[in-house]
Each structure stands twice: as structure tokens, then as C-alpha cells.
Subunit: 429 residues, 2 copies
């Protein structure tokens, strides 16, 4: 006989949790039919239980201690939407007693995901986190299920809606970075402190989560070479357009024979790529598998309801397993040999833009720096500027990333170079 | 203790089955770790057991009778890659004795899918069919799991690689229909008899399968108004381009307040749509959900290995459930009120192209037919042709589909109209 209800403990009661509670109510019949029992929230952990909230929490026990919720005997399923590292103990408490966990906590997962997976496996339960990377896009679930036994050569993804909105706005409306960031803030696509978005750290965390599923390697996000979009200028986007490219902040995982190339940086990508059409606050994950070939998952990467729907999807899957009495035979996640290809050794094309003094000999000095680092130029344009300046735009051939950065450092040090050179990688396989 | 192996019975031994057997070998370790036991093929049903095959079938019992394989006590999981309606009995045999089924048989699923689902539910087992629609794209699984409790307003999909390749080739290379079909044949994207592809029947079958999952309604594919791409001319693609559109064969499911609008037909779609960038043999499924908003799944819709990988994904999921001792509490699929909006009542824009005698009064006659059917014109171009002919191209405003077809019939009957008018719907929400 199925249990009368699957009892949910919820950590956090912010916008995503409120969206989740709303979906729980609106989809009540669908959920009950899918699970074979209703999902009922019995306990919610909130920082201040006395505070009034938008969500209807009548009949729910409010607690200040997340661990108490995770340990409560009337909690069969723990849903963690509080965020931060401090909830780790609550997640461990739940997993250790065999209570499945659903979480959207990308920061914690990218720091301690492997440990959490091991805890889940040890007690034959599960931790699901569809909402943690790619928001409402069901890509983690696809990697966990249908694509579980596929081998991937490549994952390239736009995982941060804030920066994608900024770049799209700069491109479409010709705005500069600061204006586009303002617009993103006004529309709620950027938080008051968007540092994690703009520096690429958010993308690196999500890449680390996706890579564990797609490539079966555990990579701390801090070890992923990461550059953000700060410093991107309107002129860079204009130049990209002129060369047939568009600019995106990418998370990249590329399997080479001599190691896995992982990195996060803005890149020029050809306009013909489907990822070039992933605009505004949307996310996209492109995968290339040995058997499946090219695939793209596209959708909203953030927002209360898309995220809440991803959480609900995980919750329903976990609840079905509870009711079905499932205990999967889960070994600790099989780590594959995780040899990395250092960024220094990656071969890539570059876009370079310089502002130099418009006088004879300067171009020769610039060319000398490039040649000295074994970087050869594929295309170059020079335009007269104002105040005796000239602007030089170049696309390089494939070169060692380290060599290009050395060359750029050399160029930056030339007396005739008026401001720090702009250098953006080109991702065009 | 987990069983020593999950024993697979396989129906059919064509290219997809051969690809499946190859993946089973190449991914042996991954499969074993995922399932907790190896997958071993014990029996294969083939039309002629004496025939030699490319696949290594040593140690496997070859049989001529699919039902015997489905009933064999050494078969824990049935994988059906034979196709056709005749295998229904084998599928029923397996499901009735609680053996899960994986199938790629879109034709059978679109005819008797609901019945098969009910049989599976009745014995607490499952039937999975990721490969039957959208090939290697894990969209059915996403609808079954993460998106199970989402409500969709819209599904628009490119589900047939053959026709998409033909239309892409016509558009890119300026070829005519026959040449593009030839090219598709040479590349193996079109079968020797491509009737099911070209008439849209294949798309209608796949739409019927997707709609059961996404909208929880059971719709026989034969009841879906279906038009194919036969008759599409190079000039239509040129005109589409001129108006900012591209031409795709679409499967459409659109929820209106007064019913579900289901149809398959070629359509002009705006170039800004992501679906417009789904080219060549690729498929794409666009979904719009109440909570998730816009989503796109993109990938290979056919081909031995992409299809085999989808089958393997289903097989591994089913095997995990076997080993985990799962019996989901599955009610018969909850049918939602399936009110349909007849195509006659659908409001849509149209592209029309006419070849008429170039003499005074003809345009007035054409306009009369349109006005008489309450169809109003948004844009019109007339060009002088050869031999005293003129070509008239029009885009209409939104109008009842029935009214436009009536108007076209009227126009076709005008003495001054030299050949059957071309009429293609515009899908631009």
C-alpha cells in the first residue's frame, strides 16, 4: 500500500520556494497521479520564523534550524532552496538517514558535490539538482538518465542569464557595458551585486556541475580558468559582428587526447552556431556525443517559476522512488581519469584590438611581439583614429594560449600602445 | 543481492539494432556501473535466423517468432527494433508478464500507444520509446520525468530529417525539390520510398507520440490534419526569404481556450525563431510551458547511432528499475479532456502565390475571391512574367483556415489563373 503522503521538508522560503509552493498547489492533481500520493510540506526552515511571508504556510511547522528539519521523522524528502554553504550539515543529515535531497544550491554543489553524491550513494538514496545549472532546462536529468552511458567530446554552454542579457543588449541596441548592466538590473536579470555573474564565477560553478555528469570527472570550480565579461566594450561587439561572430560568455569542456580542456571566458563564436542565437536571459547547453552527435538544450536559466518547475520535477521523481520503494544500486560516482589540459597548452584563435600611436614603426613592433611568441596573424585591419591614434584589429591563427597571452603582455608594454590591448578568444571548431 | 545480469530479448537486427549491439559492447563498463549488473542479450528475433549478419551474435539464441522471445523466461527486458504493427503481440506478451519494453516503433505507438501504456501500467511495468520521436534527442524522457507536471501551451517541432534536409538544401543551394530529394537519397537521409516523410505522415505519427506526453491527450495520428512538402517550389523558398521567413515542415500542438489545435504542414517561420536554425537532417522540438517558458531540444532525429543511443538510454533506465526492484504505482495514463480545435476554425496567416494572365481585371477577380471569403491581404507583390503571365505573391492577415482554403479554391477556378495557386501557412505567433 502506498503511503498516504510524501512529506516534504523545505529549507528556505525565498522567491524560488514561493514559486515551488505555488506549483505544488496548482499542479496538485498531476503530482498526486504521478507519484501515487500527494506531496505535503510539513516543515519549513527559515531564518526568522516570526516574519510574515507571501506564501501560505498554514499547517506547516516553521523552524529556524535546517538540521532539525532534515532530521525530523515527518520529513521523507528534503528540498533545499536556502543556498549557501551552511546548509551542508542539513543535507548530510538527510542523506545519512536515507532521505533523498533536491537542491538548487550550485555553490555548495560545485564545492562539495562529490561528497554529497557519495553520502547519497552510501545510504542508497539520491541527490538531485536540476535547478542548479541551466535553471529550467532539463539537461542534468538527461545526462543522468537517457545520456548516462553516452561519451561526450564537447560541452559548450551559455549558463549565465545576466551576462548573456548584457551582451545581447550591447549587440542589439549598441549600448555600452554599463548601460546594458543597468538595463539588466531594471528587468531583474541582474542582482544588486552581480560580481559572481560578471566575473564568470557563476558560470564556472555550473560548468563544474555539468562536467561531473557529462564527463564523470569531479572538478572544483575554483580550478577552472575563468574570465568574465568586465571590460568588454561596444567596439569589441562591433568588430565581432564585422568578422561574422557574436560574443558569448561560455563554459567550455573539450576532451583532447591529452586531457580535458575546461575554461570559462567570453568568446567570439560564429553566427551560424545555434548558441549564437541563444539571446537575452536564456541559457543553452550544446553537447557533442560519440553516438548522438550534436545536441542543444535551450531554455530559461533563471527566474522563480522556471527554477521552481525544475525543483518540482526533481521532487516528483524522488517522491515516485519513495512510493515505489526504490533503492538503486548506486556505487560511489565512478570518477574517470581526470587528466586536465592546462589552459596554457590549449590552442585557440584570438581577436586582438589595440590603440596605438599613429606613427611609422609601431606596426613592426607589434608584429615583432607576436612573431616572437610564435603567434601568426590571419587578418588585420588598421583604422585611423582621433588625436594621432590608430586602432589595429587582428584575428590570429590557432596558437598556444600561453603564447598569445605572452605576446599581448609584450604588446601592452610597448611605449606606443596607448591602452591595455583587448584580447578575446575565438571559439570556432 | 542484485541479479547477475539483466537479460535482454531483442526484436529485429537491422541497422539500429546493430548500432545498439555495438554500443552495448563499447559502453560495457559504464552500463554495468549504472545498472549494477551487465546487460546481456540472450535472444534475438529475426525474420530469417539462417541469414548471416554484421553483428556478432555468438551465444545468442536466434528465433523467428517475436512472441517466443517476449515470452522466454530468460528475457527480463524486451527491446523492439523490428518495426511494423505485427510486433504488437510480442509487446503485449512482455508487458502482460511484467517485462518492461523499450521500442522505437513510432508507427505502432501512434496507432496503439495508449493501449500499450495501459498494458504496462496494469502490470506495474513500463514501456519507453525515446527513439520513436526526435531520435537521439532526450525529449520524451524530459516530458516523462522533469517536465511531467508542467503544463504546456505550445509544442512546435521539426520531426522529420528527410524533409528538413530537402528544404534546407533547396534554401541554401537554390536547388529544386527533385534535386534536393536526390541529394537526400545519396546521403542516406531519404529511404528508397520516402512517401511517409514527404506526405507529413511520419511527422504526424511523431507528433501524436509527443502530444500524449506533453498534453496528456491520446490522439490517433490519422486524425491530425496533415500536409507534406510535395509541390514545394524553389520560388516559394525565395519568396519566404524575401519576406524574412524560412520554410519548415512543422508538427504543431497549440492549446487554445476552445480546444487543442493539432496539425502538420509546411510553414513559413520567422528567421529569428530558433527553429529556423534547425537545418539539414536535424530535428528540433520547441515547447512553451506555463512555468518554464520557452524551451528547445535540438539534435539528430535519425541515424543508426543516435537512435541506438536513445534505445540504450531507455534500456539502462529500465534495467536500473529491474535491479532496483521498482514497481511504480502507475495508474492508466490520465487522459485530459481532449477537446480539439478543428483546422477549419484555426486562425492563421497565409502566403499565396499565383500565376495569372497579365491583363486588366484579373487582380480584381482575385481580390474578389479573397474578400468574399473574409480574407484580407497584408502585403502583395506583382511581377511581370514571361508569355504574358504575371506572378502575384501575397501575405494575408490572420483568417479562418477554412476561409482561406475556400478563397484559394475560388481563385484556382478563375479562367485567368494559369496553374494551381501555391498556399503555405505562416507560423508567427
Amino acid at each position: 500500500m502506498p503511503p498516504p503522503a510524501v512529506r516534504v521538508g523545505l529549507l528556505g522560503c525565498g522567491v524560488v520556494a514561493t514559486g515551488f509552493l505555488r506549483l505544488l498547489r496548482e499542479r496538485e492533481r498531476l503530482i498526486r497521479e504521478s507519484v501515487g500520493a500527494p506531496l505535503i510540506v510539513t516543515r519549513v526552515a527559515v531564518r526568522d520564523p516570526a516574519k510574515r511571508r507571501g506564501a501560505d504556510l498554514s499547517g506547516v511547522a516553521l523552524e529556524a534550524d535546517p538540521v532539525a528539519v532534515a532530521a525530523a521523522t515527518d520529513v521523507d524528502l528534503l528540498i533545499e532552496l536556502a543556498g549557501g554553504e551552511a546548509v551542508f550539515d542539513a543535507l548530510r543529515t538527510a542523506l545519512e538517514r536515507g532521505v533523498p535531497v533536491v537542491t538548487a544550491n550550485k555553490h555548495l554543489l560545485s564545492l562539495r558535490g562529490e561528497e554529497l553524491e557519495r553520502l547519497a550513494a552510501a545510504s542508497g538514496t539520491t541527490i538531485r539538482y536540476e535547478a542548479s545549472a541551466g535553471g529550467g532546462i532539463p539537461v542534468l536529468q538527461a545526462l543522468e538518465h537517457g545520456l548516462r552511458t553516452e561519451r561526450f567530446q564537447l560541452l559548450v554552454a551559455i549558463l549565465n542569464g545576466t551576462t548573456n542579457y548584457i551582451l545581447s543588449t550591447m549587440e542589439r541596441d549598441g549600448r555600452d557595458f554599463a548601460e546594458a548592466l543597468d538595463a539588466a538590473r531594471k528587468l531583474g536579470f541582474a542582482e544588486s551585486d552581480p560580481t559572481l555573474d560578471l566575473t564568470g564565477a557563476d558560470t564556472a560553478e555550473k560548468l563544474s556541475i555539468l562536467v561531473r555528469r557529462a564527463f564523470r570527472v569531479s572538478v572544483p570550480h575554483a580550478s577552472i580558468p575563468t574570465e568574465g565579461i568586465i571590460g568588454m566594450e561596444q567596439e569589441d561587439l562591433r568588430q565581432a559582428d564585422r568578422f561574422g561572430y557574436t560574443v558569448k560568455l561560455l563554459g567550455i569542456a573539450l576532451r583532447h587526447s591529452d586531457g580535458l580542456d575546461l575554461r570559462v571566458h567570453p568568446a567570439f563564436i560564429p553566427k551560424r552556431y545555434l548558441l549564437a542565437s541563444v539571446r537575452d536571459e536564456f541559457n543553452g547547453v550544446y553537447l557533442r556525443g560519440e553516438a548522438t552527435g550534436s545536441m542543444l538544450f535551450y531554455g530559461k536559466g533563471a527566474g522563480a517559476l522556471p527554477t521552481a518547475q525544475a525543483v518540482l520535477g526533481d521532487a516528483v521523481a524522488a517522491a515516485r522512488e519513495i512510493v515505489g520503494g526504490v533503492r538503486y544500486p548506486r556505487a560511489a560516482p565512478e570518477a574517470e581519469p581526470g587528466k586536465r589540459l592546462p589552459l596554457d597548452e590549449v590552442r585557440t584563435k584570438y581577436y586582438l584590438r589595440l590603440i596605438v600611436e599613429d606613427r611609422p614603426g609601431v606596426l613592426a613592433q607589434v608584429a615583432g611581439c607576436l612573431g616572437g611568441s610564435r603567434v601568426s596573424v590571419a587578418q588585420m585591419f588598421q583604422a585611423e583614429g582621433i588625436r594621432g591614434e590608430a586602432s589595429i584589429t587582428m584575428l590570429t591563427h590557432d596558437a598556444r594560449d600561453r603564447d598569445v597571452r605572452d605576446a599581448v603582455k609584450g604588446i601592452a608594454g610597448l611605449p606606443a600602445v596607448r591602452k591595455a590591448p583587448r584580447a578575446v578568444r575565438i571559439f570556432d571548431l
